[in-house]
């Protein structure tokens, strides 16, 4: 360990945790190995159970590692390497671990989970999607059984009863969305017996960068159905005829679209000569804006798919269909109108929560990923987690070639096709990573033309995922994928049954080709990591162009390259650097979004907690009955005289109060969303938007409790008690189905100094451009 690394660790710089300190534990575990081999299965289980009784110290840790290793060897046929045990020891000490792909993270997580359970803790193993959660739970079932640890798993089809059982197990596998939605759904229950989740204790996060950072910008939202919003097909038709440039303009970063003056005139005329920008027509204007957004910014097969008469969102960073996601606030309906589909029911946000709040409920957080280092800062800032890297078991011999940059997207595409054809001729398997469903299909067609027949793996045929991946390492195979073939997929060289691997290795292993850089370098690394697992040979190269979205979205005016080769390849060093710069800008923008989401949710989370504490008191205790007995003594007495049971009245009181608590919270959230939308304008008066937001939120919340009591009391006065309890129709709760993200930045104007500087910059630069 160099001096620099030591200093960094001393300063607690993100990503500097020294995991080598856990080495002695691993060594001790190794010493126990021979002895444990002699144990029968029953003895092994008994040994594990003995650990539950003792206190947990270094010896205990070593014993856990040793037992885990032996159990894995017997049940999975895999003996964990030293480095894997090192990872386990680090995770048991609450560190986040970076381990390269193909090093067996799943097993490390399972060992760590078992380790926590044997300390008497309860563990949730959280991953990015249902597929991985189910796969891992099934794969590790025997392993846990041998150690006497109970395990359960949840996916989106699980019933409440199944969920309750799974949460009661000592180890629960689930995707982050499912856990989040269960927590959200639980906060809407009206009977204590209906609760599903258990007290959160330890969470181990697989692919921690994806779950805690990439997903964290999108709050989990619980929505209940409200009025059915409908996209107006007529508006969609009207918008379809508008022309880009003349009638509307799209931003460079393709986040916003606006009507031009001509466009506005045209639309106002078509709509019968009205003035849209008035209070009166605000609703129509909103629908028009949404229709335009759907028309100009959301592309079929890139942002969404149309399957079985439904619009399905594609998650950009995963390349998968995001099943539970919807566009917010009428946009979904606008897209459905654009595609001429029937409108799906729309929702009202009942409650929402960000991943930070979800993770913050756990007493211990740990996790691992192949690309955690890139988010070390975020993990430290938002989750107070410290991170260290585990070395690979065998050195990685994959060759990462420098990027090949082309002037135009067309030339890049041509060069890529040519490259793949050449590699394909040698028989090496090729994996091509693309940015969207549309691109993957287009590329496949182009490869077809030159006689290379590839297999497509994208969100459209995700059902065949496992089969396609299993064969991706075969001789002469070309797989064209979206980001789907990123996390969690393990591509073995040779055919599915493991034959022919050596032959492929002699040819040079798997060749990974990227058709551009993603919006963060971590995704590039994930793609590259598909090759070169566990010391396999392999290579990777990314083809980029100056017309790639990552460049055009993030750099206003890229410099034209100075040197362009005959095939259009740009060798200009500064230009090549430009692409990296664009990616860094994009990463910074994402971090900013993340940070803002986080900052604006902190106070809401606090208020939410208070409401939930109150709600819990109502749900499990006598709070509602006490309150209403006191406030509406006459009514209470009257109900008693009508012959209602005391318990029935109390139950009614509880339901009434729960209803108003939830209702008021929904209103509160809607109010805050509204405030949030325009709060950035405050920066113009040199106020801090976040502070102003807090001021408003706090003032509004001050009346929360009183209003809930008041409304509960007045409902209680009127409500009828029937055989079936109280009659509170129209609170039909639905499954969570909506997501929502906020605007990019807190202060889009820049600070006052920045604006003055911008003026100066323009003044300084304009004479220069005159000379050109």
């Amino acid at each position: 360990m160099g001096i620099r690394a030591r200093v960094r660790e001393l300063l607690e710089r993100p990503g500097s945790a020294n995991l080598q300190r856990y080495r002695p534990i691993v060594t001790r575990a190794g010493e126990r190995e021979r002895e444990l081999r002699e144990y029968s299965d029953a003895e092994l289980t008994a040994a594990a159970n003995r650990l539950r009784e003792g206190t947990f110290d270094k010896a205990g840790l070593a014993q856990v590692c040793a037992l885990g290793r032996e159990a894995a060897r017997r049940t999975l046929g895999e003996r964990p390497f030293e480095v894997q045990l090192l990872g386990v020891a680090a995770m048991l000490n609450g560190r986040v671990v970076e381990m390269a792909t193909g090093e067996g993270k799943t097993l490390v997580c399972a060992l760590a989970a078992a380790g926590y359970v044997l300390q008497g803790r309860r563990v949730h193993v959280v991953s990015v999607n249902d597929y991985l959660a189910r796969r891992d739970a099934e794969w590790m079932a025997e392993f846990y059984a041998l150690l006497g640890v109970s395990v359960g798993s949840i996916d989106q089809h699980s019933t409440d009863a199944e969920r309750r059982i799974a949460y009661r197990a000592e180890v629960t596998y689930a995707s982050v969305n499912e856990v989040g939605f269960d927590v959200l759904r639980d906060r809407m229950r009206t009977e204590a017996s209906e609760l599903v989740t258990a007290e959160p204790d330890v969470v181990l996060v697989d692919e921690i960068d994806s779950v805690l950072v990439d997903e964290a910008t999108v709050p989990l939202v619980l929505a209940g159905s409200a009025e059915r919003a409908h996209g107006d097909p007529q508006l969609a038709g009207l918008v379809r005829k508008l022309k880009s440039g003349t009638h509307y303009e799209v931003d460079a970063d393709e986040r916003n679209v606006n009507l031009t003056d001509t466009g506005l005139d045209h639309v106002e005329r078509e709509l019968g000569g009205i003035r849209l920008h008035t209070e009166e027509h605000a609703a129509l204007l909103t629908e028009l804006n949404l229709a335009l957004h759907a028309r100009a910014l959301l592309r079929r097969d890139v942002d969404y798919l149309v399957r079985k008469g439904k619009v399905e969102l594609v998650n950009r960073s995963r390349g998968r269909v995001a099943r539970l996601q919807r566009w917010p606030d009428g946009l979904q309906a606008a897209v459905e109108a654009k595609e001429g589909l029937a409108a799906s029911p729309t929702g009202e946000v009942l409650d929402s929560m960000i991943v930070q709040s979800l993770i913050g409920r756990y007493r211990t957080v740990s996790g691992c990923s192949g690309t955690a280092m890139g988010v070390a800062t975020e993990l430290a800032e938002f989750y107070k987690l410290s991170l260290g890297a585990v070395p690979t078991n065998l050195p990685c011999v994959r060759e990462d070639e420098p990027d090949r940059l082309y002037e135009t997207a067309e030339r890049k595409q041509a060069a890529l096709v040519e490259y793949v054809r050449e590699v394909h001729e040698t028989g090496r398997p090729v994996l091509i990573g693309t940015a969207s469903v549309a691109e993957s299909e287009q590329l496949a067609a182009q490869l077809d033309e030159v006689g290379v027949y590839g297999v497509i793996l994208n969100a459209k045929n995700d059902a065949q995922e496992a089969g396609i991946i299993a064969r991706a390492g075969e001789h002469g195979r070309v797989t064209i994928s979206t980001q789907m073939a990123g996390r969690g997929t393990d591509i073995r060289l040779g055919s599915a049954n493991g034959r022919g691997g050596e032959r492929i290795a002699r040819l040079g292993g798997l060749c990974v080709v990227g058709s551009g850089r993603y919006h963060t370098g971590r995704l590039d690394d994930q793609l590259r990591g598909r090759a070169g697992r566990q010391g396999d040979p392999g290579s990777s190269v990314l083809f980029t162009s100056l017309e790639d979205p990552v460049v055009t979205h993030n750099i206003a005016e890229p410099r034209p390259p100075a040197q362009v080769g005959e095939d259009g390849q740009v060798t200009d060093r500064r230009c090549v650097e430009l692409v990296r710069h664009a990616q860094r800008v994009s990463e910074a923008a994402h971090l900013e979004i993340h940070r803002n989401t986080w900052r604006y949710h902190q106070l809401i989370a606090k208020q939410r907690e208070l409401v939930l504490t109150e709600r819990d008191a109502v749900l499990r205790g006598e709070r509602a009955a006490e309150l209403l007995r006191e406030r509406c003594a006459d009514r209470y007495a009257a109900l008693r005289e009508e012959g209602h049971e005391r318990s029935a009245i109390d139950r009614a009181a509880r339901l009434v109060m729960l209803f108003h608590l939830d209702r008021r919270w929904t209103e509160h959230l809607a109010f805050l969303t509204d405030v949030r939308e325009g709060i950035h304008l405050r920066a113009l008066a040199r106020e801090t938007p976040i502070d102003e937001f807090h001021r408003i939120a706090v003032a509004e919340f001050a009346q929360f409790s009183a209003q809930v009591h008041e409304r509960s009391a007045s409902t209680f006065e009127e409500v009828k008690l029937t055989e079936n309890g109280v009659d509170l129709e129209g609170i039909g709760l639905r499954r969570p189905n909506s997501t929502w993200t906020y605007m990019v930045t807190d202060n889009p104007f820049g600070s006052e100094e920045e604006r003055a500087l911008a003026f100066l910059g323009r003044a300084l630069k304009s004479p220069k451009t005159d000379q050109d």
């Binding site: 909103t286 009202e348 710069h581 990463e587 910074a588 106070l603 509204d674 008066a685 040199r686 104007f749």
Partner: protein, 434 residues
Amino acid sequence: MLGAFRSAFATPDLRKKILFTIGIIVVYRIGSTLPAPGVSFKNVQSCAAQMGQGGIYGLINLFSGGALLKLSLFALGILPYITASIIIQLLTVVIPRFEQLKKEGQSGQGKLTQYTRYLTIALAVLQSTGIVALAVRGQLFGNCQQEVIPGKDNIFTLAVMVLTMTAGTAIIMWFGELITERGIGNGMSILMFINIAARLPNVGEQMLQNAGGLTFFVVIVVGLLIIASVVFIEQGQRRIPVQYAKRVVGRRMYGGTSTYLPLKVNQAGVIPVIFASSLLYLPQLLQQLVGNGNSWWQRAIQTYLVDQSNPVHIIIYFLLIIFFTYFYIQITFNVNERAEEMKKFGGFIPGIRPGRPTSEYLNHVLSRITLPGSLYLGIIAVLPNFFLGLTGEQNSQNFPFGGTSVLIMVGVGLDTVKQIESQLMQRNYEGFLR
């Protein structure tokens, strides 16, 4: 406000932050009074007393909290750091590499901060060398004949002085960052505030000696009135309602009262005053460079421009402030850009079309509100000039209840209190359900 402070102290981690800030301020004040090694404290004291508070370094002295004319450890104050950050900020629009770094978020910003620090040190070396040189030649204190640096022939002594002052600046910079990071408020602003506030007792004492108790009392009362009115006007806003049309909202049960575009009465802040006074500083600088001559223009400059109690000076100052107010608002509040941005995010002012009509409307409102704003700035800024006779001062910058000082102090004060309040609100939630 006092209530806010009381509850702030009742909140443990907020109390920690405030105490931390106060601790830093105390250390900073101590450093400001400690003379640098090699300085004759007694002689400096008497020289400074002889000279009064005028002179070419008046403004710098003000911003260093009087530390400069004590030749203290922190003689340079926070100014090199501020200058350095302004320069680096300027460079980000000129140098492409800096521009790139700025856009790359945290890591890029980190590098820029690092450059700012280096530049601060460089500036500090330059400035402290200059000051030591001036002090050695006896020019720092006007015509004072006493030796402020007894060992001035020894190059080693001088080098140590330069070194300590530079180190002092580095420490101040660190203090500023510490306050921003772990304390309350913006470190740079707070230190600036402290520098200005620290001079108040001194000035008050002089006033008491020169003008007597009654005047002193009247000035204090007037001063408090000025501060109160500044606080009042600083919070004055014109709120233009804005509506957003990008989301379909179910039922709206509340008026959109919280979404508006605020225009401050004093939209320009303190900058126009600083611009105007720096510009009016030039003739004085010129005069000091060429010395006191007797040709007609030199006399004219002396009478009309340098003498701050002359009506011509006051009127020019006043007009310059009004001009700079309009100019600065024109720069920073680009109505076209605001209108474009509102359009981009789907916002509009009800009844007004986005784009050109919106920017015209904004321009109209802005120019209406800037007039009283600029008059107010002008009045606040020239007020001390009328009091000059009372305090025996020659330099209006040193008068604590007017111009730059009061605007900066009130601005920083309001910001800091707001921040404390905001943090308080986030934390103090106990007893909400009662």
